[in-house]
């Protein structure tokens, strides 16, 4: 506890400087109304990164990175990419000539630049610092009985700055409730760092520290954050290596990576040496609080060396990646992994293909055809396959069914019925390729997804329906209804209804969120209330965004939640936030089991943060 306070105070003093402040209200508003499951901390990490390192619309690679913001629809991305490839862009609002909504442009505005690199020497240096604390009451059994080694407070510190136009550094430290700040013989708990150098002739960028790798469509490597939208699968492309200060404790790389550019060829070289958690299998829980849990902390060594070559033409891209990967978990020789990526545009058609192989023995493949139909309709057809012995440690979630060991066919259609109404339909069928006992047949299934969306200046209505049918199993149906109203510039509210029907049982939750901003825009208040009632399927609940907190839960049983948060700008550069979140069950006397047991049917989570943003 003392350590965390000293650390906080020390870094606070260090970072206390005059600056500007940026909140992501518009962006958050969009994301929350369109996507069901969001990892808030990861997404904000991405936005903060690109706020500090804006994407240049006159750079083709940067334009491809727009998808990583998760703030545009597939159709808008395609329009912008095509436009930027053919025109010099002087202002983002030039894109208004396309069929892209002004609101969409405003959303991506903080992350966009149109100036050339030469002009960037004049731009202001940005620094941000964040310190957050969280705790809960009543305390868990592990804390009360001192089975947890660390304090009962979650701490998160992050600092990122530009030393000059070429050098950027970042440092992040996070510990969960019950975890110690320092593990004996294993170092500091969840420490991330990165140093980035950019803009030296052909060496575009060199990164040291923690980073993500995303290749092609992500069937081999796709560790960068991507919103997993179960309704409409969308893919990132363009970025290969991106430094990361995310608190995630798996699916990341640490070492050195560089990006080189020569004419139309881009080359990425990367090497990583990390220690993964787990003993006989990987442990992705990210919680190491007791002696037994700590035995699994950073025990598996993973080494990787790779090269990625990409050649870009006006309407086509080709990329190849070769990676040597060794994990002590396999106790075998190193694996040689390859990825072949191709994308080709032809008028309103776009074809994308990625094939990955492991030692030329196991294969995975995805092929995609996108067709723009007129100005307002979009069709995509996708085929994917993955063999059961293919590595899947780092692939992204490109399928809504399982871990990816499957052969599947997916097609989706989106059309603007009127200026306000949009219809989306998606169909997915799959057959599992997971290794099975001889007599057990491969699992088969199909999924139908539909979305009806109405957007006006002041409100948004989303109705989503999902039907999932696995062979010889009961079907699952899900309905999600969202209504969002912007009452005025100060007040916004939304209501959400989730309803899942499984084995003729209805599982539901009803939620109301209210957001209020003061006239001076210095204070923000949010209130959320949710009642849930489930029989056999958990219900997803997400409280209003609170900076740095993962505010989402899967709720089971019967009960209600309540959250209130206040965020206030103390000065131009300094922001403080307080949040209280109450979870109340009516169907049980205590919450959780084992060390996580709380001897009460209610619990209160409390979070506080301080954030500085500086520009000079």
């Amino acid at each position: 506890m003392k350590n965390s306070i000293y650390c906080t105070v020390l870094v606070c003093v260090f970072a206390f400087q005059v600056s500007f402040a940026q909140n992501f209200t518009k962006q958050w508003q969009y994301v929350e109304s369109t996507i069901e499951h969001i990892d808030v901390t990861e997404l904000f990490e991405v936005w903060e990164y690109y706020q500090q390192t804006p994407l240049n619309l006159n750079n083709r690679t940067h334009v491809n990175l727009l998808s990583t913001l998760n703030l545009l629809t597939d159709e808008e991305l395609k329009l912008i990419r095509t436009f930027c490839a053919q025109n010099r862009v002087n202002s983002i609002y030039q894109l208004q000539t396309l069929d892209v909504e002004l609101e969409s442009l405003r959303r991506i505005r903080p992350f966009i630049t149109t100036t050339l690199i030469a002009d960037e020497t004049n731009r202001k240096r940005k620094t941000n610092f964040y310190a957050g604390l969280q705790f809960q009451t009543p305390q868990r059994l592990g804390v009360l009985e001192k089975k947890y080694i660390g304090t009962a407070i979650k701490t998160h510190l992050r600092y990122r700055t530009e030393l000059n136009s070429k050098w950027k550094i970042g440092l992040a430290l996070e510990k969960d409730i019950g975890e110690p700040m320092y593990y004996k013989n294993k170092g500091i708990n969840n420490l991330s760092w990165s140093v980035e150098f950019s803009g030296l002739s052909k060496l575009r960028k060199i990164t040291f520290g923690k980073y993500d790798i995303s290749l092609g469509e992500g069937i081999l490597f796709g560790t960068a954050y991507r919103i997993n939208n179960p309704y409409f699968l969308s893919y990132n492309k363009g970025v290969v290596v991106k430094s990361s200060l995310s608190p995630k404790e798996y699916n990341y790389f640490e070492g050195i990576a560089s990006t080189w550019e020569y004419k139309q060829i881009t080359m990425d070289l990367f090497a990583s040496a990390t220690k993964a958690n787990g003993l006989n299998t990987y442990d992705n829980t990210g919680q190491f609080r007791t002696n037994t849990e700590i035995e699994k902390y950073k025990t598996i060594s993973r080494h990787l060396v790779g090269i990625h070559l990409r050649k870009e033409h006006r309407n086509s891209n080709f990329a190849w990646a070769g990676i040597v990967y060794k994990s002590s978990l396999y106790k075998e020789e190193a694996l040689f992994l390859q990825s072949f990526y191709l994308s080709k545009n032809y008028y309103n058609l776009e074809f994308v293909s990625e094939t990955a192989c492991q030692d030329l023995k196991a294969w995975a493949n995805i092929q995609k055809l996108n067709i723009s139909l007129g100005n307002s309709s979009f069709l995509t057809v996708q085929f994917r396959t993955r063999e059961s012995n293919m590595i899947n440690e780092f692939n992204s979630d490109y399928t809504s069914f399982s871990n990816g060991y499957e052969t599947g066919f997916y097609y989706a259609f989106q059309s603007s019925l009127t200026n306000r109404w949009t219809l989306k339909l998606a169909f997915d069928t799959f057959e599992s390729k997971q290794l099975k006992l001889e007599d057990v047949p491969y699992e088969k299934g199909r999924k139908i997804l539909g979305e009806l969306l109405k957007t006006t200046e002041h409100n948004k209505f989303v109705c989503q329906y999902q039907l999932k049918q696995l062979k010889e199993r009961e079907k699952t149906q899900k309905v999600r209804i969202l209504y969002q109203q912007i009452q005025n510039t100060q007040l916004r509210w939304d209501t959400k209804l989730y309803c899942t029907l499984e084995k003729a049982e209805v599982n539901s939750s009803l939620q109301f969120n209210l957001y209020w901003t003061s006239k001076s825009k210095l204070e923000k208040l949010s209130f959320s209330n949710c009642y849930f009632y489930t029989h056999n399927e958990s219900i997803y609940w997400q409280a209003p965004h609170f900076f740095g907190s993962y505010n989402a839960r899967f709720l089971s049983g019967r009960g209600s939640t309540l959250s209130i948060s206040l965020q206030k700008k103390m000065r131009k550069d300094l922001k403080i936030g307080l949040q209280a979140l109450v979870l109340n069950y009516v169907d049980r006397a205590e919450i959780g089991t084992g060390n996580e047991r709380i001897a009460n049917n209610k619990k209160l989570d409390f979070a506080v943060y301080l954030k500085w943003n500086r520009r000079d």
């Binding site: 007040l491 209501t495 009803l510 209330n529 009642y531 009632y533 009960g559 209600s560 109340n584 009516v586």
Partner: protein
């Protein structure tokens, strides 16, 4: 903008002025009070099951002190061997032109003949937001889940959206998430003829229930009757509302 607001206020006020049917509503949102004429007296009585004499009745008074509206009522539910009585006081306040907040405090008393006398205090929070033709109301009923013994007092979250199609026709969809019975959906249509006669049709989805009501306005009195086909019984109710002239 002012014209629109004025129209909106007049429009929604007229809807309520000619229809006090909601006094028969079991889950009256306290934020609705702001729309009522004051003073108003009402009495409703619903027979839920004639054989065992199961009833529900309420006697209430709505009044205004300065700019705040208050309602007090005495509510009873049960039959001769099981009787639940609640004394309720509610108030509503307008936070802005389009936002209303209401709160209700209830003292609940349960008498089980020759067996048990139990009591508890609960509160409800109501919230109303209105647009030009649209009113959204939220009701947090007993959010702290106060109980006589355990989970025996209704605790639920209701979101109701009412659309005003014309001066005479309104429709309402209501989602109810109860900690006791889960999700339920109700939709209701109300039609008023020349501000004197009103007709209400309603349907509930889970379990499937339906009902209709008829209202008539005569000078300072309004008379309402309703029939509801519940899954377990048939209910018949009447309500008399008296609004003295100022």
């Amino acid at each position: 903008m002012k014209l629109i607001t004025l129209f909106m206020l007049c429009f929604s006020a007229s809807i309520y002025a000619q229809n006090n049917y909601f006094f028969l509503d079991r889950y009256l949102n306290p934020s609705i009070l702001y729309d009522l004429n004051t003073p108003t007296y009402y009495l409703n009585n619903t027979t839920l099951n004639q054989e065992i004499g199961l009833y529900e009745r309420e006697l209430g008074y709505v009044f205004r002190i300065k700019n705040n509206v208050y309602k007090t009522s005495l509510y009873q539910y049960g039959y001769n061997k099981f009787q639940e009585t609640s004394f309720k006081i509610s108030t509503a306040k307008k936070l802005s032109k389009s936002i209303e907040l209401g709160v209700r405090l209830s003292y609940n008393y349960l008498n089980i003949y020759e067996l048990e006398n139990l009591s508890t205090v609960s509160f409800d929070l109501g919230f109303g937001i209105r647009r030009k033709r649209y009113i959204l109301r939220l009701l947090l009923e007993n959010p702290l889940n106060a109980s006589y013994v355990e989970n025996d007092l209704e605790s639920q979250f209701i979101i109701s959206s009412m659309y005003l199609w014309t001066n005479n026709l309104t429709s309402e969809i209501r989602f109810e998430e109860s900690l006791q019975s889960g999700l339920n959906l109700l939709h209701r249509i109300k039609y008023c003829y020349k501000t004197r006669v009103s007709l209400i049709l309603s349907q509930r989805v889970k379990p499937m229930e339906y009902g209709y009501g008829l209202g008539y306005k005569l000078k300072n009195f309004e008379f309402y009757s309703q029939y509801i086909k519940y899954s377990y019984t048939n209910a018949l109710g009447i309500c008399i509302v008296y609004t003295p002239k100022k």
